[in-house]
């Protein structure tokens, strides 16, 4: 039954399994869609989609697949079900765009067209990633002038048609490839754990259940059992770019910082700051007062290589800040170029990633140059949920 929708969903990155698909078929058999298209939409969503982060993808795919249906009334007529039974390709002949357009009144036609265009445009804008600040918007159709043209999608009546609901795409903000807030950060950092039980650790924790079991088996005479403690062994070294071009991302970086700080499941967490690039001095304080400076060398010597290192920075600076020595920055003057310091970190710490709140600057020039150099040198990830998860996964595996 309309299996191509199944493949479309999968192609759009939704992890729909055959099990769920069969459940949907069962549900349709039982008539749970209540013979309405809207019901059908909710039924599909409830069964096939398992995270609000995927609602937007689902809405998009749903619109794409069922876009010819938008004019149909909400009642699901018999032909429609037959239509659903057939794959989409066969259908295009009989249900052509032309017919559709002819069936539509002109003004509505125009509106509908605008609606679709608008959707497309938003999608592109979103994919462009653009500004993280921009994503904190309200529902897509709520906050722009389209409404008075006649498409009120901002949910007025309680009963919305499936097309409207999907068209709202109001779960856009939940998409995992969007840029993130603290809570999402925190969730992501939970991935960063490695229980000592899996590693070879001594059995030091008194195992009550085990002792009781063994003692019972031992006819009542005491037999003590110890177990491996389950503790997170991950230690984290966080190096954050502060000030300058990073001010623009300060909100996001502070969210990231708080998330790391609040993830109290790390065995140890060390945070240091630098400006633009790491030189011979590194700072304990984000304002980088000289008093808080410590030699970078000290870190390399005293913080062991089992630490997982996360560098946060936009990787955008004047090329000579990165490539040439004797750059004077916040009281740190030395002959070693920044790139050299960064390479030392890379050499010392096998688990190191670079998180970048910014996109590669498309206007090229200097900024893109240093960005490219560093992206080549480090595993660089954007600060989106998907990418952060990838970065943390990367930190957990040895290369």
């Amino acid at each position: 039954m309309f299996t191509s929708f199944f493949y479309l969903l999968r192609a759009r990155g939704l992890k729909v399994s055959l099990n769920e698909w069969m459940s949907l078929m069962e549900a349709l058999d039982k008539g749970l869609h209540q013979s309405s298209f809207t019901g059908f939409y909710y039924l599909c969503r409830a069964i096939l989609v398992k995270s609000e982060a995927d609602f937007d993808k689902f809405d998009g795919a749903f619109l794409e697949y069922f876009k010819d249906m938008e004019r149909a009334s909400d009642e699901l007529p018999k032909e429609l079900l037959d239509w659903l039974n057939k794959p989409r390709e066969e259908l295009d002949g009989s249900f052509s765009e032309e017919d559709l357009l002819r069936n539509m009144g002109l003004p509505e036609d125009v509106i509908q067209q605008m609606f679709l265009e608008r959707l497309k445009e938003q999608q592109e804008q979103h994919n462009g990633g653009s500004k993280w600040i921009g994503t904190r918007g309200a529902s897509p159709f709520g906050n722009n002038g389209q409404i008075d043209k006649g498409i009120r999608v901002g949910g007025e009546s309680k009963k919305k048609s499936a097309f409207q609901v999907a068209g709202e795409r109001k779960f856009r903000d939940f998409r995992e490839d969007n840029v993130l807030d603290t809570r999402q950060f925190q969730m992501a950092f939970r991935r960063l754990r490695q229980f000592s039980a899996r590693a070879d650790e001594a059995r030091t924790e008194f195992d009550i259940d085990g002792t009781i079991r063994e003692t019972c088996d031992n006819a009542g005479s005491l037999k003590v059992v110890y177990d491996k403690p389950r503790r997170n062994t991950v230690k984290v070294l966080l190096l954050m770019d502060s000030g300058g071009s990073m001010d623009y991302y300060s909100r996001m970086c502070s969210a990231l910082f708080q998330a790391v700080r609040n993830s109290n499941h790390f065995k140890d967490l060390q945070v240091f700051y630098f400006h633009n690039c790491i030189y011979s001095k590194i700072f304990k304080d984000p304002r980088m007062r000289p008093a808080s400076a410590i030699p970078t060398e000290w870190i390399l010597q005293n913080i062991s290589s089992e630490y997982k290192v996360i560098i946060v920075g936009d990787a955008q600076m004047d090329p000579y800040e990165l490539m040439e020595g004797s750059w004077y920055s916040y009281g740190a003057r030395d002959k070693t170029p920044g790139i050299e310091w960064l390479r030392r970190f890379k050499e010392k710490y096998p688990h190191i990633v670079w998180l970048n709140p910014s996109e590669r600057p498309y206007w090229g020039g200097w900024w893109a140059k240093t960005y490219d150099i560093l992206a080549k040198e480090f595993d660089m990830y954007r600060l989106t949920l998907d990418d952060l998860n990838n970065a943390l996964k990367k930190l957990m595996v040895s290369r």
Binding site: K15, S17, N19, E20, S23, E26, A27, K30, G31, L32, G39, Y42, L43, A46, I47, V49, K50, S51, E52, F55, G155, K158, K159, F171, T182, M187, R190, I212, R213, T215, C216, G220
Partner: protein
């Protein structure tokens, strides 16, 4: 479909939510509810239980909860203790096997509602350990060589605050619903369910202030439904005139639980 859920007297359910509930009931699959804290995830199970007139069994999940706890507990210590004093019935293992919440729901003669509350609090592996039990609605107790099989498949409601990712294998078996934060209109309805009489003026002011605060850019912990209800109660008790509510936001501590947030709000207020 012989059972349908239409919301209840004390619970305002959106249409989508009712659909999801009914889908889950008809397909006999667990319903997984996610949503911001304070959107009434736990209340839902109570409302369903009331609306359908079925008994509600709540299994509260804590960080230390193991899947086994929900099935049954074999009280070895008690047995050991009894055996030393030669108490009667020590050789009857069944006496020491106590069913957990899941076991209780399975062995009930009538269909019950089983609420597994805040499943994400438990260990990452927890949901995986329950796959078979929730699928087949049965489990085996090796100690007594007994299989507990659901007499009536319970209606299972699972809530999650999304603190942990749930495993895919688990998700595949659930019907999923995300409760959105209610808009002003729905909120009005919810408030009216909780209060017999709220002055129209007060209500308007309260909602305006509430959504204004939620909309503030850097509020860390946004107030939710339960907080607004407490707030109205506080305002009623305090007898604050309605025109002052938006202006001064009295009892802000009821709405905002962090000092920083109260400071932020006051800053914007000026």
């Amino acid at each position: 479909m012989n059972l349908t859920f239409q919301g209840s007297k004390n619970y305002v359910a959106s249409e989508e939510l009712m659909r999801s509930v009914n889908i889950a009931i008809a397909l006999q699959k667990p319903l997984l509810i996610k949503g911001e804290p304070g959107t009434g995830k736990t209340m839902l199970a109570e409302a369903i239980s009331q609306a359908l007139g079925k008994k509600l069994i709540i299994w509260n999940i804590k960080s230390t909860t193991k899947a086994q706890d929900g099935l049954y507990v074999y009280d070895v210590v008690q047995r050991l203790y009894d055996s030393q004093f030669g108490n009667e019935g020590v050789d009857d293992i069944a006496k020491y096997v106590k069913l957990g919440k899941l076991g209780e729901a399975f062995s009930s003669d009538e269909q019950v509602i089983l609420l597994i509350d805040e499943i994400d609090k438990a260990d990452l592996e927890f949901p995986n350990d329950l796959l078979w039990e929730l699928d087949k609605m049965e489990f085996y107790i090796p100690e007594t060589k007994e299989t507990i099989k659901a007499k009536q498949r319970p209606i299972v409601i699972i809530t999650s605050n999304a603190e942990k990712e749930l495993p895919d294998a688990f998700l595949r078996r659930c019907i999923f619903h995300y409760i959105e934060f209610p808009d002003a209109e729905q909120m009005e309805e919810i408030i009216k369910v909780h209060f017999d009489h709220v002055e129209e003026n007060v209500l308007k002011q309260v909602l305006a202030t509430f959504y204004w605060i939620r909309g503030l850019y850097n509020i860390q912990k946004k107030p939710s439904t339960s907080e607004v209800i407490d707030w109205i109660r506080a305002l009623e008790l305090g007898g604050v005139p309605s025109y002052k509510i938006k202006e001064t936001v009295p009892f802000a501590g009821v709405l905002l639980k962090k000092n920083e947030d109260i400071d932020t709000m006051r800053r914007y207020l000026k």
